[in-house]
């Protein structure tokens, strides 16, 4: 194998499954993250056009960020109180707690020249601030705009998936604080199952637009090789500020990528077979 660290031997991959259909926009994850990781306020700035979102983005000081998307009809609102329409409008006020994706093909990791970014025993991508020299190569290498350099010390910073808590057997602070389990933490394979079941449940309830972003994709559609922190969405990815397609920009790993694609293809075939079985049961 090359130096690329898609997997670490003996690792059990841990991840996040963030279900936007149960997010209530309370931002407890943002605060819990900052408290545990001792991150400062990012400045109190009123942002226009962003609904109730005033932190705006993931950056060196904000490692969880709740995006608010108001999906009421644009154009001329009817000057009347239509209770049904008002309720529908509230239904489409959607929230997404965004976070580092801990990609399988992690662009930041591929670009890091110092080894500050590592793949951990939990198959997460962690930045070691004491090794980082602040070169900033990881920043354009992240297709999601997650990694950022701190404005004071110049070093890069991002979500560690609470590496220090995981070492002590604790779940990450954001998942712990989430009152609705919109943020679920656990072994990656289990989360994949939970998420697939959740999509099935939502489809059964008529939420036809529910889908997973960054998981259970066909090999050619995989986002950065599959996301360690993946999402359940009900709107196109762009409405949440996510790219429809993404991968590590580093092209030197074509061969291992192919190998992993074959493996993923086998998985996907199993998934297709399972879905046929499932549909026959319906």
């Amino acid at each position: 194998m090359t130096e690329r660290a898609i997997e670490r031997e003996g690792a059990q991959r841990m991840g996040f499954f963030t279900d936007t259909t149960t997010c209530i926009g309370c931002k407890a994850c943002e605060v819990a993250c900052k408290q545990w990781n001792d991150l400062p306020s990012d400045g109190a700035e009123f942002r226009k056009g962003a609904s109730y979102d005033h932190t705006g983005e993931l950056n060196a000081r904000t490692w969880r960020h709740v995006r608010f998307v108001e999906l009421a009809e644009r154009g001329e609102p009817a000057p009347t109180v239509d209770v049904g329409a008002a309720v529908a409008a509230f239904d489409s006020w959607v929230f997404m707690s965004d976070v580092c994706k801990h990609c399988t093909n992690a662009g930041c990791l591929d670009a890091c020249p110092t080894g500050a970014l590592i793949r951990t025993e939990f198959d997460t991508v962690v930045l070691q601030p004491d090794v980082c020299n602040g070169c900033g190569y990881c920043i354009p290498a992240c297709p999601f705009g997650v990694v950022d350099r701190d404005r004071i010390d110049g070093r890069a910073a991002k979500c560690t998936l609470c590496y220090d808590r995981l070492e002590d057997g604790l779940e990450p602070a954001c998942a712990k604080a989430c009152p609705t389990d919109s943020i679920q933490f656990g072994p990656y394979d289990e989360l994949l199952d939970v998420a697939a079941r959740r999509v099935g449940t939502l489809h059964g309830r008529g939420v036809d637009g529910a889908y997973l972003y960054g998981a259970h994709d066909a090999p050619e559609d995989e986002i950065a090789g599959g996301l360690g922190a993946f999402f359940l969405l009900t709107e196109p990815p762009e409405r949440y500020g996510l790219p429809a397609a993404a991968d590590s920009p580093i092209q030197q790993n074509v061969i291992p990528a192919t190998l992993s694609a074959v493996g993923a293809g086998l998985l996907a075939a199993a998934g297709v077979a399972a879905s046929f079985l499932w549909s026959r049961h319906r």
Binding site: K27, E30, A44, E45, K48, G49, P77, T80, V81, F90
Partner: protein
């Protein structure tokens, strides 16, 4: 506060309260504070109630001058909830004891410490007095060493030996027992702080979800009131799946997962004699034992100052009349203070074409005393804003994110505009009325100040428990920031001549107009 404004109140303790921005018609509240001789504020931060005399809107506008305000303000640093022990009592009647996690920093102290110290110093001041009026102060029983001593006294005890009583049924009216509050009697049963129990329910056991050993519920650790209603007239559960309290014929008593809220040995088929009195007159099939007839009441002929049945009135301030009762627009029993410094608009007054409502945000707590000073919360909702619909925004030339001014008959505030389709205009008869949504978490103090929505609402209360009417009042909006300088704050004039009537309690209410 009106008594303070009119000169009938010398001093005030504001403990965990911030009336300068957190109470309705807060401009009037601040003016009332400025008429006090002394004011004690205990809080986590230097909140607006402690600083109104130097940086309140009236001082900034020049209407009040700091050198004219004689109020002596004492700001005392308070311990936070993790820095003190005590009880929370929730609306479900559950008492939960909380231990102190760490000592408060510096001079911060709990309310209990403060009140204890205050009384001891007052008593020392009165020591040796033989005046009859000082007797209660000199002789008050006051010997607490900790918060549990207070709970123990609330529980009640036998005077002879000081032992806690098991419950209110053991209280006597002959002076042999003492009790702070009968409904809490039993919280210290057996000398154990029952509210401190943290035994979760066993969800695998039938009825385990009741969790009777988690904290303690008043009265008598009953988790549900009138629970005899969970059984049919014969005492059998209405539903096996939802069984809760039922009659055990073998044991000849009521039993269940909870402490039954019914005389435990009264048979389901019990009928009292015709001349029965009190509880004896309530049959075995009537669960509502605190009602005179034991029945649930939809029609309540007594107890409420309005009613007995629900109806519709417009808010005290409304852009329209009452379509249901055109001759009576507003609740005639409402508690209101009709005086020049608490003005309100008449129905349909064209000066005030919009309606405002106040609401809370997840990120802040009440008037912001516990949240605006915290950088992690302040960055999530950094500035006061007003939510308006896009039609109103276009009509008034207000852009999303820009400054706008909201005025009511009581005052004027500025806020950032949040133009959103979530706010809908209302069609009221032939008129289109626009709504303005105002979070009320901001004030003029602290690191993230903003105008207070309570500068706009009026002093008014519901007839029974005086809940303020801050959810509906009329307003006008325009683009841009509010004016500054003297004379711009509306609504407060000299107090009316003579002594103002005491209208703080419904029983003392002056007849409506």
């Amino acid at each position: 506060m009106l008594r303070a404004f009119d000169g009938g109140l010398d001093g005030l303790f504001a403990m965990g309260q911030n009336p300068a921005v957190g109470s309705e018609h807060s401009g009037l509240q601040r003016r009332a504070l400025s008429h006090l001789k002394w004011l004690v504020v205990r809080d986590l931060a230097e909140i607006e109630t402690a600083t109104f005399w130097k940086d309140g809107p009236e001082v900034r506008s020049g209407e009040l001058r700091t050198e004219d305000i004689a109020t002596e303000v004492f700001l005392m640093p308070a311990a936070s909830y993790v820095e003190k022990e005590g009880c929370f009592t929730n609306t479900e009647r559950l008492l939960q004891w909380r231990d102190k996690a760490l000592d408060p920093p510096g001079d911060c102290r709990s309310e209990l410490w403060f009140m204890d110290e205050l009384y001891k110093r007052v008593r020392a001041h009165y020591a040796g007095s033989e005046r009859e009026r000082d007797w209660p102060i000199v002789n008050l029983k006051w010997d607490y060493e900790g918060a549990e001593d207070v709970l123990r006294e609330i529980n009640g005890y036998t005077v002879a030996d000081g032992e806690p009583v098991p419950g209110f049924a053991q209280l006597e009216s002959d002076g042999s027992t003492a009790c702070g509050c009968w409904i809490y009697s039993g919280v210290f049963a057996g000398g154990v702080n029952q509210a401190r129990r943290r035994e979760p329910g066993d969800l695998s056991a039938p009825g385990g979800w009741v969790a009777p050993e988690w904290g303690w519920a008043w009265p008598a650790n009953r988790r549900a009131l009138y629970s005899r209603a969970s059984a049919d007239p014969d005492g059998r559960p209405w539903s096996e799946r939802k069984r809760y309290v039922w009659w055990d014929e073998g044991e000849r008593r009521w039993t269940g997962y909870d402490v039954p809220d019914f005389p435990v040995d009264k048979r389901p088929d019990y009928e009292g004699p015709d001349d029965a009195q009190g509880m004896d007159a309530i049959s075995g099939g009537d669960p509502f034992i605190m009602q005179a007839d034991g029945r649930g009441w939809l029609f309540s002929p007594s107890g409420l100052l309005d009613g007995p049945l629900p109806t519709h009135y417009e808010p005290l301030e409304s852009p329209v009349g009452n379509a249901l009762y055109p001759e009576i627009a507003e609740n005639p029993a409402a508690l209101r203070w009709d005086r020049p410094d608490n003005p309100h608009a008449d129905p349909g007054d064209p000066s005030w074409p919009c309606v405002a409502t106040t609401f809370r945000l997840t990120e802040h707590h009440t008037a912001g005393g516990m949240s605006r000073w915290l950088p992690w919360l302040a960055e999530l909702q950094p500035e006061m804003f007003a939510e308006i619909d896009p039609v109103l925004a276009r009509e008034r030339g207000i852009e999303d994110g820009s400054w706008m001014t909201i005025a009511s008959p009581r005052g004027e505030i500025e806020a950032r505009a949040k133009v959103t389709d979530r706010i809908r205009p209302l069609r009221l008869g032939e008129r289109i009325v626009h709504q303005v949504g105002l979070p009320w978490h901001w004030g003029f103090g602290g690191p993230h100040p903003g105008d207070s929505a309570n500068d706009l609402d009026m002093l008014a209360g519901d007839p029974n428990v005086s809940i303020q009417e801050s959810k509906a009042f009329v307003c006008q909006v325009r683009a841009g920031r509010r004016a500054t300088g003297p004379g711009v704050l509306a609504g407060v004039h000299a107090p009316p001549p003579g002594v103002a009537p005491n209208r703080d309690h419904p029983a003392e209410r002056r007849p409506h107009r």
